[in-house]
Amino acid sequence: MNTYRKTSGSIFLAMAVLALALGGYVNAQAADLQIAPDQAAITPALLKAPIVFKGSGFTPKEIIVVEMVIPKGVQVKGVQEGENVGLANGNADEAGKFETKMGAMATLNTLFQVGWTPLIKPDFSKASPLPPGQYEILATGVESDSVGKAMLTILPPPPPEKK
């Protein structure tokens, strides 16, 4: 009885894995993602001119979630290891294209990694900016599961201006 249960469980699991793998293979649609600029230093300029994400190849009108894949060893406030962090969101138009920019909250929380005062003010004295490096960015359509990928390079901070 117990053996039968284990075996049937295994077969069920195996079939589920196969179905998921094949389903994913068949349904995976190539979406496109572009980032502008795709190289940036973390400076206050990003609050005035935020990073823009543009993509195509999505299902019309679907919600798009733009996320950063956190490399191993990089700590991001509020994000657990192995999780991606949301950077922006948008909606695809009738042609399956979208354009959205990184909001101030995402820029402050994820790029600058600021602290917050009890009066809802960003606290830059507690900021720990994302380290320079290459970061994979994913734009996922939540209906289609289509994914566009691109790389964002975080540059070292510019040297302080001479007085």
């Binding site: 509020g78 962090v85 949301g86 995402a106």
Partner: protein, 410 residues
């Protein structure tokens, strides 16, 4: 066209699954229902939201420690969104297909509205703060408090009582000072109409950017315009700082200051500014102050799971307990109706609408109001006053007026 490499990978996984046998726990058939809290643990409103989330988590632990219900326990998933819509959506995407995920709590109206299309698609339900629009336009979003405008209208009733008690003639003049955002404006969406109905003169709202350090300009304008009562919005210590500034300007002598649900807390503002806050009134849809610090269940859970003194308790812990208690009550109805196999967001949606008129929170809130025609957690509020460095009750639960229905929501 599938490549040889792709085919080999799939076959490899298939073989691995066959060798590995059943998933751990599969044979035991663990029955867990899920609660997703898109909260804020390290961001701008963490001071309030974290305590609420701890209340949720602790009540579920307590419920599970008691054995759950019909063998079903609750798995709490807390996510630190840092009050950011992008992070909330990313987390929602990660968890949306979790089996037996029944409800998603969003810490702000903005987050709730952003995920709402997915809530509908996934047939879940959403809990969100006190925006009256969700009562005006019935949907799968349930308000987790008494709507802000209803609480404000109840405060206007209290103002009239107080005005008469003091033997004043004519109509009192009431002002509002709050954050310059949709939350800050919400009390007037229905509250303004209610004031007209009961003959109170409302001043134009004085709205300031969150993060303001001094509030003299806005306070002086309210005083100049003849305010007898001023209602202060924000999240403590914001209200404390506004009233602190009013005290420094000498305004608290002649103007009665009042705040909403997120106002001065014994663990936050009252601790630092008891003298300045003395006499301030707080309207609330869940218990706070001395009520909170003597509530049998709340204090027991706080000490048992947080291992901290009751003196360190923040009242928002109780709104979290209320969320969890409502969830458990809804889940029980859903389980009785269809068993664990049919326990899903739709079952929970039906169940929440059957909670009307029940006492579900051991006195932490008033009677529950959720029904086919109500998305209000409760119609009831209670008034508190800062007295001698404590927040003490000055009324029992009283039904708040229906200010939502007076406003035309676009």
């Amino acid at each position: 066209m599938m490549t040889k490499k792709g085919l080999a990978l799939i076959l490899g996984v298939l073989m691995l699954a066959l060798v590995a046998g059943p998933l751990p726990g599969y044979a035991e058939e663990a029955k867990e229902a899920y609660y997703l809290s898109l909260s804020d643990f390290t961001g701008p409103i963490a001071g309030l939201a974290l305590a609420g989330s701890q209340g949720e988590e602790d009540y579920f632990k307590y419920f599970n420690d008691q054995g759950g219900y019909k063998g079903v326990t609750v798995k709490y998933i807390g996510v630190d969104t840092r009050y950011d819509v992008a992070r909330a959506l990313s987390a929602y995407k990660r968890y949306r297909k979790t089996p037996h995920l029944l409800l998603v709590n969003t810490i702000s109206t903005g987050l709730g509205k952003a995920i709402y299309p997915l809530i509908v698609r996934d047939k879940l339900i959403n809990l969100t703060p006190g925006d009256g629009e969700f009562q005006a336009k019935l949907s799968r979003t349930f308000i987790y408090s008494t709507p802000y405008q209803d609480g404000f209208a109840a405060t206007l009733d209290w103002v009239l009582e107080d005005w008469k008690k003091k033997g004043k003639s004519g109509a009192p003049v009431v002002g509002l000072i709050s954050w310059d955002n949709p939350y800050g404006r919400e009390p007037y969406r229905g509250g303004k109409e209610y004031a007209e109905k009961i003959g109170i003169k409302l001043l134009d709202p004085e709205l300031f950017p969150p993060g303001s350090l001094k509030h003299d300009v806005w306070l002086n304008r309210l005083a100049k315009n003849g305010a007898n009562y001023v209602y202060v919005g924000g999240v403590d210590p914001t209200q404390t700082n506004v009233i602190r500034d009013a005290y420094a300007l000498g305004l608290t002598k002649d103007i009665q200051f009042m705040t909403d649900y997120w106002g001065p807390d014994m663990g936050v503002g009252v601790k630092d500014h008891p003298k300045e806050l003395e006499g301030s009134i707080i309207v609330n849809c869940f218990i706070r102050g001395t009520d909170a610090r003597s509530h049998p269940l709340g204090t027991k859970l706080w000490q048992q799971y947080r291992k901290k003194s009751v003196d360190e308790m923040v009242s928002a812990y109780y709104i979290g307990l209320s969320h969890a208690m409502h969830y458990v009550a809804g889940m029980k109805i859903a389980l009785d109706a269809g068993g664990f196999e049919k326990l899903d967001g739709d079952a929970m949606y039906q169940a929440y609408q059957q909670l009307h008129g029940k006492e579900l929170t051991q006195g932490i809130t008033g009677k529950t109001d959720y029904s086919p025609t109500s998305r209000r957690m409760s119609r009831y509020v209670k008034f508190y006053q800062v007295t001698g460095g404590k927040v003490v009750p000055v009324t029992d639960w009283r039904m708040a007026p229906d200010a939502v229905s007076l406003h035309k929501f676009e």
